[in-house]
Every structure is written in C-alpha cells, then in structure tokens.
C-alpha cells in the first residue's frame, strides 16, 4: 500500500509537515511497496494514535456499566453487517471502544490498572475490543508481597515478584496507585503522605515507590513505573506531587526513557487548604517538568458533562461519593488492592470543576516540551476518550479557550493563569502528545512513528494543514479529528471517511521478564504460603491462561 502525497508529521523521525509518500507492506512501514494507493494529497498524515492511559477493560469498568444503565442509554449505534451494536458514553461496551478509537485515528490503547487476581477478566474484555492493539498495566502498589519485600529491603525478591506478577496477569508494566492506601483501606483507612506508615506492614509510600522504581529498572522493563500519586484529588496535593517527583531523581533509568510516569497530573496539581480556597498550582508542576528530565506525565484533562470515576484509589472514591451524595461502588481485592467507582457530572458553573478543567490545559501549555505531557482524559475519570478532538482544539486555539472560558465560573480567571497563556500548539506538538511521546513513554519501539520497521498504523485526517488555521477554524478541526479520512491498522484500511470498513482483531502486548532462578524460587516459596493461608483460590488457578490472550505480542525483558 502507498499513502500518497500526505503532509506527514512523524516527530520521532524529525519529520514535521513534509509532503511524502508512506509505503506499507506486511503490516510494517517499508522503503518501497506496491499495491493499493491511498490518495492523501495535501492531507494531514500521522502515525496511528497511542493512548497510554485509559480505563477500558476489567472489573471496575464493568462495574461502571452495571451500576449505570443510564449511561448505556446514550451512544446507541445499531448493528450493521460488520459492526456489533454499541452503547454508552462514559462506559461504552467493548465494541464501541474499539470502533470509536479507530474513528479518531487511534490504533493502540493501554488499560491503565488491573489487579493480578482479576486480570483474567481484564483480558476477557480486551479480547472483545476490536481493531486496536492493547495492553494492560498491572497494579503493585498495595500488594502484600511487594510491601513485605520493600519492608525487608529485598530488591532482588521484589524484582522477581514483579516479573512473576506481570506474567501471571499478562501485564505490560508496573502501575502504582496511591501506594499503601489500598492496603490501609482494607480496614477503612488511608495513607496521608509519602512517609505515613502503611498499617500492619511497617513500610511507607516513599519506600514502595522507590522500591518498585528500582525493581522496574533492574528488570529493564520497556515502560517505567506508572504512578497515581498519594493524596490525589485533594486540595493542596501539589506538594505531595512535587515531593514524589523528587524522590526518584537519583535513580537512573536503564532505558532511554523517563524513570517515572506520573499519570493524570491534573488531579495532583491542586493548591489551597480546602475546597473554599481551592486553586491551580499547575505552574509549579510545569516548572518542575521544565527544569527536570527524569519524569513524564499525562494531562488527565477534565471534560464537562458526565464522567464515571473509577480508580484503585478506593478511599478517594469513598470521599467523592460522600461529598457528592453519588452512587458508590467499592471493590477490595484480597492481598492486592482496593478500588472504587463513582459516577459524576462536571459542571461549567461549578468553581472546582472549572478550575480543574483549566489545570489540565495549563499543565500541557506551560510545560515547554510536548514529549513530557501526554494527551489523556484519564478516560472515563476526567471524561470519555471521544473528547480528545475537543482537547486538541483547546490546545491549538486561544480563541477556542476564550470562548470556553466565557461560559465557565468566573473563578477560573482568579485561581488559574490559563487566561494569560497565549501558547497555541501546532500539529507537531499534537503528533508528539498523541503518538510519538506515548509510544516512547510506554517503550513501544514499533508504535507512534512512521520510520521503516514501524507498525503500519497510520491516520489520514481530512484536513489540509497548509490551508487551515487551527487557531481560527477550530470547529472544522474538531470535526475532522473525530471522523478521520482513513485509519490504517496493521496495513489494512479500517476506517474510510469516518466509517468502519474492516474489523480486524488487535494484538495484546505483555512483558515476560526473566529473573535469577534463586530469586524466582524465593518468591514461589512465599506464594505457596500466601495461597495456602490467605488467598481464596488455589495457586494453580491464579495465573491468566493462554486462552485469554489469543493474539499476544510478548516483549522480553529481565536481568539474565
């Protein structure tokens, strides 16, 4: 296949708006190829989009569906000859997830949080999501074996356990949510800062984070530790965020990437002493990122309207539910985690929501390098992923931001600096934030770019970058971003003129990391004991079987 004459943005390879042909063959980008010609003359061309943080599969997502029949009433799309029927806005069914990402030109999406015990369920849903490639990050931040290894300072055993946990969950990377808090929540408590002890385990969030970051690097994993900070969602939490960023500064990454990814930073950039004097501290966070290169973040942009918050930060969800008198689901997972789900509505006239909305944009616009700030809404926590075109146009157009701010609570002007920011991002910045950077952050060498050897995942937008001014014509841009001209996945046209025309199966990435035999044996001895005494199932029934990952890409890592 040849994609002819597009205006290509491929930041990884230093290409920013050059007219060129892209050749695809055997599912890869190649030097030369024959076959079908896609006429992209003058149209905006980028690698397929990569979402490094979204909640699309597993127990908490399905809990959201089950407790929110009202959500499934929206987003209805009937079945067609090739498409299964779709429902939902914040918690769409599996088919809608695949189709909607593909229609926006996204071809790779990563589920951000799965406990090992419930990873089988996560994979059952990932298998049902069509078209896109995917992976899942595995939760380790309140796991008993992790807490004990960290307490004992046994990094070799910790690394061996992480390797085993990734294999058991068929997971891609190490996710840490409110470290220690999930365990404390087992008896209704929480941890309040980096040095607050985890009850019954004689360790602290600081030690858990440092231990897991070191283990992650010992295993040479493609992705860094992916962290949801302590105190997330609370006024004044930016100090916790800054402190957290600093405590891993002395640890060297073993790959060419960040040593820590802090996710949905919007929720961790809050000032004030309470909700009354709640304000943005995004400038301080952005300044930290401008001065330091060892960390990356994603936005966690808020979208007005319906959202379904879902997180392994269960105490946070309990607070949300009490504060908003909302429906509340909680789910504790033995020896491993806790989690919660709360539906809510973000209002333009709600001062807190309006400030949160501004914070996400401030983070992206004040951080100079787009490589450090991935575009996300923490779907469906900040809002559903179908709103990415809205977020992109907000970043590209000061006029659009002004129009929006005019509809918001007036405190936005007083408690944030967004009105003073003039930066308007260009297509190169957007290609970095939605393709090149998420692939680099995840350590996916064949994704997010169009160099020879990359996966043949390409987006062609119905936009002429040389003729359209995104700062002015933001309505037209938003429409085109939501309904691409072509999405090509693995060398096959899956979307044409905004319609799905083919439904291939995606692949699932997971990481198989080797560790020294003696450490693996020590972990197994611990696990035999834990299954004997504490788990409610047998060890032999625990690990995700191959039947649940039928189209895998196994990435090798490890110490040997």
């Amino acid at each position: 296949m040849i994609i002819k004459g597009g205006i290509v943005y491929d930041p990884t390879n230093g290409i920013f708006g050059e007219e060129m042909d892209i050749f695809l063959d055997g599912g890869k980008v190649v030097e030369e190829a024959k076959g079908e010609e896609i006429d992209a003359q003058g149209l905006l061309v980028m690698p397929g989009g990569v979402d490094a943080h979204t909640h699309i599969a597993g127990t908490k997502v399905n809990t959201g569906r089950i407790m929110r029949p009202e959500d499934a009433r929206s987003g209805l799309e009937p079945k067609t000859k090739i498409l299964r029927p779709c429902t939902g806005y914040t918690v769409p069914n599996c088919y809608a997830i695949g189709y909607r990402y593909a229609r926006m030109g996204y071809t790779t999406v990563f589920e951000a949080a799965t406990p090992i015990l419930e990873a089988r369920h996560t994979h059952e849903e990932l298998e049902e999501i069509p078209i896109v490639d995917k992976g899942a990050l595995t939760l380790f931040g309140s796991n008993w074996e992790v807490l004990e290894c960290v307490r004992d300072g046994d990094l070799d055993k910790l690394a061996a356990y992480v390797a085993w946990g990734l294999r058991a969950s068929r997971g891609y990377g190490v996710k840490v949510v409110n470290p220690g808090g999930g365990e404390a929540w087992g008896f209704g408590g929480n941890v309040k800062g980096l040095d607050d002890p985890v009850p019954n385990f004689d360790t602290t969030p600081r030690e858990i984070i440092r231990g897991l970051v070191k283990a992650n690097e010992m295993l040479n994993l493609p992705h860094s530790v992916h962290l949801h900070t302590n105190n997330l969602g609370k006024p004044g939490n930016y100090t916790t965020a800054l402190e957290t960023l600093d405590i891993v500064k002395d640890i060297a990454p073993t790959r060419d990437r960040q040593v820590l990814h802090v996710t949905h930073m919007q929720f961790s950039s809050y000032g004030g002493t309470g909700w009354r004097d709640f304000k943005s501290e995004a400038p301080q966070i952005a300044e930290y990122f401008n001065r330091n290169d060892h960390v990356t973040m994603d936005m966690g942009q808020l979208i007005f309207g319906n959202a379904t918050t879902m997180t392994a930060d269960a105490p946070l969800e309990y607070s949300n539910a009490r504060l908003l008198h909302a429906k509340w689901s909680n789910h504790d997972i033995e020896l491993e985690e806790s989690s919660g789900v709360v539906p809510l509505v973000y209002g333009r006239k709600m001062p807190i929501n309006a400030i949160q909305w501004a914070i996400g944009l401030e983070l992206a616009l004040l951080t100079e390098s787009p490589w450090k700030t991935l575009l996300t809404t923490d779907h469906p926590n900040g809002g559903p992923f179908v709103n990415y075109p809205e977020v992109i146009t907000l970043l590209m157009s000061g006029a659009k931001r002004e129009e929006e701010m005019a509809t918001l609570h007036e405190l936005v002007a007083k408690r944030t600096v967004l009105p003073t920011i003039e930066r308007e991002m260009d297509w190169g910045d957007i290609a970095v934030m939605t393709r090149a950077a998420p692939a680099k952050v995840l350590g996916l060498a064949e994704k997010g770019h169009l160099g020879v050897g990359a996966d043949a995942d390409v987006t062609v937008y119905d936009l002429r970058p040389e003729k359209i001014d995104p700062a002015r014509d933001h309505k037209r841009v938003k429409e085109a971003l939501g309904r691409v001209k072509y999405t090509i996945k693995g060398g096959e046209v899956v979307v044409r003129d905004g319609e799905i025309v083919a439904v291939p199966r995606g692949r699932t990435y997971w990481v198989d990391a080797s560790v020294p035999e003696k450490d693996a044996e020590r972990v197994q001895a611990d696990l035999v004991d834990k299954f004997d005494k504490y788990y409610s199932i047998q060890k032999s029934n625990y690990m995700v079987q191959d039947a649940y990952v039928t189209n895998p890409v196994v990435v090798k890592a490890g110490v040997i």
Binding site: A57, T59, V61, N62, T63, R65, I66, M67, R68, P69, D71, A72, L76, E77, P78, K79, R84, P85, C86, T87, G88, P92, N93, C94, Y95, L117, E118, R120, H121, E124, E125, E128, G186, F187, G188, N200, Y318, A321, R322, K327, W328, S329, N330, H331, D332, I333, E334, L335, S338, V341, K533, Y534, Y535, S536, I537, Q538, S540, N541, Q545, A547
Partner: protein, 430 residues
C-alpha cells in the same frame, strides 16, 4: 488419574480446590466438594440424542436437523426470548448474545427470578463489595440476611466467611461475631451469635430501623419493630459499628420478599452508612455457579447485565418490560430458547403456561421439567466437567473451569454456533 484444583460447577461459591479421580475417562471419585457439588460433578442420566417434537411426541433426530429446526423457530419468531445461561460458561454466553442480536430477540438470565432485583438495587446505589478472600482475611463480623448458606452454599462458611481463617482472623470462628436475620430458624442461624427472627415481609422496616440507630436517630424508634425488640436491634447495630470489618451477605429471603429491589437499595444504604463508622462490605449470595458470569459478559457486550432487548437493532433494557417473565406474561414472546436452566420449574405458574404455548428450544445436558414443554431438545456437554471455560464467582472473580473427561456431546458454544450458522443461512436466503 487425579485432577487437582478442579472448579465446582454448582453454586456461586465456585470452590476451586476439588480433587477428582478419573479412570478410563470416567469420574470415579470426587473429594473435598460438598454433597451438592459432588453430585453435579458425578453427573446423572443424560439426554441421549437431539429430539424434535412430532405429533406431540419428542423423537430423536440428528444435530444438523435439530440446529435447522431451532434456527427456523428463532428466525421466524417476531420476539424470541433467549433465556437461562446460569449453568454454562461465559464462552456460551457470548454466542447467546450474538444469536440474540442476529434474531433481534430478548436475552435474559435466571437472575430475573433470582438476584435480578439485587442488580436493580445496585443500579440505584452502587455496591460496596470485596473479594471473598478479603472477607476471609479481615472480617470479624458476618451478617447473613435471608440466606441459609449451611444448606445452599455449604462451603461458604469454612472457605470464606464465618469459620474461615486468614491474616487478621487467625482464630477463625472464635475471632468473629455472626448475625443471622431470617423469618425462621435455619441451620445457619444455629451458628449465629445473634439471631433476629423477623416477621415475613418486614425486611425493609428492620433495615430502616438499623439505619436509624446507626445514624444516631434510634431514640425515635418504637419499642418493637417487626417482632424484634428495640434492644435487640440496638445490640445488632452496635455489633455492626464495633466491627473492624463487617460483611453483609444476603440471599433471596431479602431479594424476593415484599419490597424486592427496595430492600436491596435499603441494605446497600445501610452498608454505605456503616462505612462512616468502620469498614463494611455487602454481597448477594449468587445461586448457580455462573449466573454472575452472564451478568458480566452481557454488561461488557451490551452495556446491560440482563433483560436486553435487541428488537431495535441496538440493546435496550427496561426490566419490567424486557425481562423474561415480562415478555412471556405479556404474551409478546412467540418462541423461546432455553439454555442451561429450567424455567418450567422456576417461573411463576402463569408464566410457565405461556411458555408452554410457544415453540421452545432447549439446550441442556440433562432432562428437566422444561424438556416436557420443549419442541426441540439439544443435549450438550457438561460445562466445567466435559468442557473448559470461564465462570465468575459470586464476588465477580473470573476463574477457568477445567475439562475432566471427554464427551461425545458438543459444547453449548458449539451448539449455539450451529444454530447461528443456520440462522445466517436463512437470512441470506431471504
């Protein structure tokens, strides 16, 4: 050959530590299972071959013919009902949902006459839950409300709840308090530290009274509520508040007594409020081993956990209108597919009469009263014994069922595939 760590295809406990001895591809011994589970794993007399009803009699036929007849019935129907699914694996559920889409039917599970109201309660309030291992390791107070696990979920107590030992419950039963609420004495109530025998149909009142006490408004209560003295209620509420980790398990006694889903809504609210005093979780005691799994699969495939109507081309959900009993009682359903269930025994009589009037296709390993009103009967392999696949425990934990022996029967999944293929052929012809 001994197969270890077998999953039991009987109740929602989904015990996964069963040891099964197999000789010459036959099960000879079942260890560790309860009587109910062991009997299911050993099996009993099977339907021998596919059958179709001719002149009022079921006569044997081929699988191909049975698939054709089943497809004709479902394809020609205006509003076919696809019902059951509790005693088969999720792989079959997926095919069932696909078939429902293809024929524009209504699909529903046995939850509709079981914990369906519990799900509606959860839609109102959410559910503060946990895995059963969390209960085992932490719970020092267990409440069974309208539930008799000693007889319906025999290993629940020892594996997960009242008598289980875990990290913070090393003493087992002696470290815990047990409250049983029921309308009569049961084997489970004998194990209770506190038994509240309430008048039938008063669950809502009793929960409300407990909520008032927990919320600090107990002084407004009368001296007796639903046959229980205020002192006993205060005592029970104080036990709940004093717990370090409380677990509230409820059965059909709460779900199907007067008040129905409102009882559940109230129970969920009580647990929410208890969480401002201590840690508390709540869980329905799901009956069949994979009724929970159907709710999960249906939710991720359609957005709804049960009672899904595909007649509009997209999923539509409105229990009261689109549940199995509704479409039968209203005379809307003009054909039915029954898979791994027995509505003839479990539906209200007037609804069974409606079911008997319409063509019924049954897929099941075993004969049951529904067979008597079926027009096409397709025997299948026993999921979890002869076929591997996925099931969800009552706490929503997904586990893989094993295949222990080979079967000459096709799996439910294969049977459904056969019918889907025939339905598509009919669609192509027209």
């Amino acid at each position: 050959m001994i197969v270890e760590d077998v999953l039991c295809p009987f109740c929602g406990c989904l015990c996964d530590d069963i040891r099964v001895e197999v000789e010459d591809d036959r099960i000879t011994k079942v260890n560790r299972a309860c009587r109910l589970g062991a009997s299911k794993i050993r099996g009993h007399e099977r339907i021998k071959a596919p059958m179709v009803r001719e002149d009022g009699e079921l006569v044997e036929t081929s699988y191909e013919e049975a698939y054709r007849r089943a497809a004709q019935i479902l394809y020609q129907a205006k509003r076919p009902l696809l019902y059951g699914w509790c005693s088969t694996v999720c792989e079959a559920h997926k095919k069932g949902i696909l078939l429902a889409e293809e024929v524009g039917g209504v699909i529903d599970s046995t939850a509709t006459v079981c914990h369906g109201p519990s799900i509606i309660g959860i839609e109102e309030k959410g559910l503060a839950g946990a895995t059963l291992g969390q209960v085992k390791n932490r719970a020092d107070l267990i409440v069974f409300w309208g539930s008799n696990p000693a007889e319906a979920h025999p290993r629940h107590s020892l594996r997960y709840s009242t008598n289980a030992r875990g990290k913070f419950t090393e003493g087992g039963r002696s470290d815990k308090k047990v409250i049983v609420v029921d309308v009569r004495k049961t084997r489970s109530s004998k194990n209770a530290d506190k038994f509240l025998q309430i008048r039938p149909g008063t669950d809502y009142e009793v929960i409300s009274a407990l909520r008032m006490i927990v919320g600090g408004n107990g002084d407004l209560l009368p001296e007796r509520v639903a046959g229980i003295s205020k002192d006993d209620l205060v005592d029970a509420a104080e036990m709940m508040k004093a717990a370090r980790f409380g677990a509230f398990f409820f059965g059909l006694g709460l779900t199907h007594s007067r008040g129905s889903y409102k009882n559940i809504d109230n129970g969920l609210s009580l647990v929410n409020e208890l969480n401002s005093h201590t840690k508390f979780m709540i869980m329905p005691m799901r009956g069949h081993y994979n009724v929970s799994g159907f709710g999960q699969v249906c939710a991720w495939e359609t957005g709804y956990p049960m009672a899904v109507d595909f007649s509009r081309g997209f999923p539509y959900f409105n229990p009261g209108e689109t549940a199995a009993c509704d479409v039968l009682a209203n005379g809307e359903a003009d054909a039915a597919l029954v898979v791994a269930a027995d509505p003839a025994s479990n539906f209200p009589r007037s609804v069974v009469e409606k079911l008997a009037e319409i063509p019924v296709v049954q897929i099941d390993p075993f004969e049951n009263p529904t067979t008597l009103i079926s027009d096409v009967v397709i025997p299948s392999a026993v999921a979890g014994v002869e076929v591997e696949g996925t099931a969800y425990r009552m706490d929503g934990l997904s586990l893989r069922m094993k295949k222990l022996v080979t079967s000459s029967y096709p799996s439910d999944e294969e049977v459904l595939d056969g019918i889907i293929e025939e339905v598509r052929r009919l669609g192509d012809d027209n």
